[in-house]
């Protein structure tokens, strides 16, 4: 049974909330990202990404998101940004790059917006 409308669920526009439902959905994928802290695991992942995903028990959708480096899908499928970032770091991607993806602005414009004082609501 879905608890997506459960008590206390926050709704802030444009803001993923890493709550219990999200964490449960993303648990296996987040554990995979956590494992990438270790060089030996990074090597094993890069040698066979699909097999590594299956070893961690990712869903087909999650595996596809990881293989495609579809950062938005990883967040939508339960990834925590701090865990997803482990994969991005392995790829040499910065948090500004990810910001460019999530906002659709691209890295350069996102970085320029941050250097101009950041983005505002509305």
């Amino acid at each position: 049974m879905s608890t997506d409308s459960g008590t206390g669920r926050l709704d802030v526009p444009g803001t993923p909330i890493f709550d219990g439902d999200t964490s449960r959905r993303g648990m296996r994928m987040n554990k995979l990202f956590m494992s990438l802290r270790h060089a030996a695991n990074r090597e094993r992942f890069l040698a066979g990404e699909s097999a590594y995903c299956r070893e961690f028990g990712l869903s087909d959708e999650q595996e596809q998101a990881v293989l495609d480096r579809d950062w938005q899908a990883m967040i939508d499928l339960g990834g925590s940004i701090f865990y997803v970032y482990k994969l991005a770091m392995m790829d040499g991607r910065s948090m500004q790059y990810l910001g460019g993806v999530f906002t659709g602005m691209g890295e350069e414009d996102f970085l320029a917006a941050m250097r101009a004082g950041g983005r505002r609501d509305g």
Binding site: P16, D19, N30, R37, S80, I81, Y85, G99, G118, R119
Partner: protein, 285 residues
Amino acid sequence: MAEVIWGLATSHVPSIGAAMDRGKAEDPNWKALFDGYAPARAWLAEHRPDVAILVYNDHANGIDLDFVPTFGLGTAERYEVADEGFGRRPVPDVIGDPELSFHLVQSLVDDHFDLTVFQELAVDHGFTVPLSVWTPDPGDAWPCPVIPLLVNVIQYPQPTAARCYALGQALGRAIRSYPKDVTVGVLGTGGMSHQLAGTRAGFINPEFDAHWMQAIETDPASLAAMSREELIRQAGSEGIELIMWLVMRGAMDERVTKVHSDYFVPASNTAAGIALFDNRAPQAS
């Protein structure tokens, strides 16, 4: 009895540590941030405590989602610096103070704060960057033993702002009840406004940050009254880390003296703030 002599609030953005580790403190994108730290660093160098307590959150390095303690306290003799996936920072491991840690655990549990006890813990940038903000060149060792106090700010529901402030007040009582005459510094870390994911990524709210910076000194109870949702609206989904400043502030006296504060945008995707408070009563002039 032990005494809190100062409180330091600071952002813990990993890129601040990376900028220092790579010698970029004079880089035009960073210079203003580090210039803004200088007065606080100079004062802190003259006011070294016997021990410090550092309130922070882990970022998938020391702990993972198998365990999500709402509050935790380290009791180890030594805390290793974590390798977050790009090699550990070139800074010293952290020496702890188990005797004070166990006193704090006993006192806080008796005071109805049932926190998780960490007998072993690797500390990540959330911990080491604030130490570097305090002490840019530690050499072989940080200025004093440091005890980690962990707060879950990553997975909802985080503790309320009010609970964090109350924990800080209990921490203050626990410190004052320690029989040894030691001086204590307390660091509250994280913030200020920022959001990393979603179409709202890059969100910064300087008006709210300015309000927070003032109220943390003069009216922390008003900040402790904020709901989780209000914090996320005002400070962004990761800006909720500011609740950790309230633990630090709660451990201090009702009246504190501001030594220095500064504000800088952007440190990576974050508004970086620093605020240093002297906990000793102002001298009559």
